[in-house]
């Protein structure tokens, strides 16, 4: 198990990255933390002609608050997100979701941009991005554009990033007032990819659900919004009973539920309901 040969480039500006991508005409791969790409290279599932290493792009490593959002550079590691006081206080869901990802040894190198671009259906960050309406800033030959999370994740391991584009920043809105959140997942061992996970964000006003967002991961090709659960909650008085009936709808509208050696589709649909109920209850407590 050794990687096939490739050329190696370590650019230091976005312009160079884009120029190198164009030069290799779709045959190059961007290397960020390498925690997903290196296994693919070692197993020869990927055979790029060149790797464009963003490791020297130190100006893509930052976390700052800007216009009501936490702006995170694509090369920021999960370790930095996990330890950021800004993230802990202004976007605690992002902090909590980070602790579910792999192990400290992996979070030291794995980046935020890498997890988003990899778009693993069982990954935490894409689900959190969809739940929070994050925005993706992308640089390419035609300059900069931005894409909403709901349009970024297209299918398994596929995003809105085009061949010669690079993700530069993720903007995650800060958590509004009186809003509770929760992330729940079931995995074989802590740190493994989730079999199923649920993210809930609940806004309460006078004991009633003013806003609700529920996103499931590990069930389909991309993070899935459980819109029937959300609709069953809006305008209703928050209670354990409400959360239980609303969560029963979690498996509704799930298309092509994943079925593999880790869990059958049926078990995943069951987990989707259980985790949704737990997530709603915890989010309500925090609201």
């Amino acid at each position: 198990m050794k990687p096939p040969p490739f050329e190696y480039e370590a650019p230091t500006t976005i312009q160079e990255v884009v120029a190198l991508l164009q030069q290799h005409d779709g045959e190059a791969k961007i290397l960020a933390g390498g925690q997903s790409l290196m296994p693919l290279l070692n197993m020869r599932f990927a055979r790029p002609t060149a790797l464009i290493d963003l490791g020297r792009m130190t100006d893509l490593d930052y976390i700052r608050e800007e216009n009501g959002a936490i702006a995170i550079g694509a090369m920021t590691t999960k370790r930095s997100v996990e330890r950021s006081d800004l993230v802990k206080s202004r976007q605690p869901l992002l902090h909590a979701s980070t602790t579910w990802i792999a192990h400290p040894q992996i979070r030291n190198r794995g980046t935020v941009g890498g997890s988003m671009a990899q778009a693993d259906p069982a990954a935490e960050y894409p689900a959190v991005a969809v739940a929070l309406d994050a925005e993706f800033v992308i640089a390419g030959p035609d300059g900069q554009r931005s894409v909403a999370a709901s349009d970024f994740f297209i299918t398994y391991l596929t995003t809105a990033l085009k061949e010669n584009e690079v993700l530069t920043e993720i903007r995650v809105p800060v958590l509004p007032e009186r809003t509770g959140w929760s992330i729940q997942e079931v995995a074989r061992r802590h740190g493994d990819f989730a079999m199923v996970g649920a993210v809930a964000i609940l806004g309460l006003a006078g004991g009633s659900c003013e806003s609700a967002r529920v996103v499931l991961f590990g069930v389909g090709a991309t993070p899935q919004r459980a819109t029937s659960v959300e609709q069953a909650l809006i305008g209703q008085a928050a209670s354990e009973a409400l959360f239980a009936t609303a969560a029963e709808k979690a498996a509704e509208g799930l298309e092509d539920t994943i079925s593999d050696v880790h869990a059958s589709a049926e078990y995943r649909r069951h987990l989707a309901q259980v985790l949704t109920r737990r997530a709603l209850a915890e989010a309500a407590e925090r609201a």
Binding site: M1, K2, P3, P4, P5, F6, E7, Y8, A10, L31, G34, Q35, M38, P39, L41, N42, M43, L51, D53, G55, R79, A102, H103, P104, Q105, I106, N108, R109, R189, H190, G191
Partner: protein, 168 residues
């Protein structure tokens, strides 16, 4: 063959400069040209943790890094832990508390614990388990490793030393 690259890195305090093929993983570079075979290779996809080393003081899977990515970095491997005066307190604790049987996983466990205990000399069991969860041991059942960690914490405290000396 792809264009060769020159890499320069400090490994356990010694600077090495070498020509490498870009596809050479860091672990193969350490075990091959540098003959530092203390770092083990298990799965080569990041899961087992046998290849864990310190890159600029932080744990990394050396099977998931290219040697070229470590250009300019300071690396510590298990060979960098003991001194002529004796074993590192964490190593000593593993021996006393039976933290190893076959020893294949041990270098990775040691390096992960060096990072943990240098950042947090008094971790909770939950914090210890978070780190141990990233390392696979198929022999011990982990209980003796957990005991070794507690013993190492006590040894470091008594000796009044940091788990990891500051990088040069």
């Amino acid at each position: 063959m792809a264009t060769m690259k020159t890499v320069r890195m400090k490994v356990n305090g010694v600077t090495h400069e070498s020509e490498v093929e870009p596809r050479t993983t860091l672990v193969d570079f350490l075990r091959g040209p540098l003959a530092l075979t203390g770092t083990h290779v298990g799965c080569e996809h990041g899961v087992c943790g046998a290849c864990t080393i310190l890159v600029d003081g932080r744990t990394a899977r050396s099977c998931l890094m290219l040697a070229v990515q470590a250009d300019g970095a300071e690396i510590t491997t298990v060979e960098g832990l003991a001194t002529p005066e004796g074993l590192h307190p964490i190593q000593q604790a593993f021996i006393e508390e039976h933290g190893l049987q076959c020893g294949f996983c041990t270098p990775g466990f040691l390096m992960s614990l060096v990072e943990l205990l240098s950042e947090n000399p008094d971790p909770s069991d939950a914090e210890i388990k978070d780190v141990l969860g990233g390392q696979i041991c198929r022999c011990t059942g982990y209980q003796s490793i957990l005991k070794s960690v507690h013993s190492a914490i006590a040894k470091l405290r008594t000796a009044g030393v940091a788990a990891q000396p500051p990088l040069a």
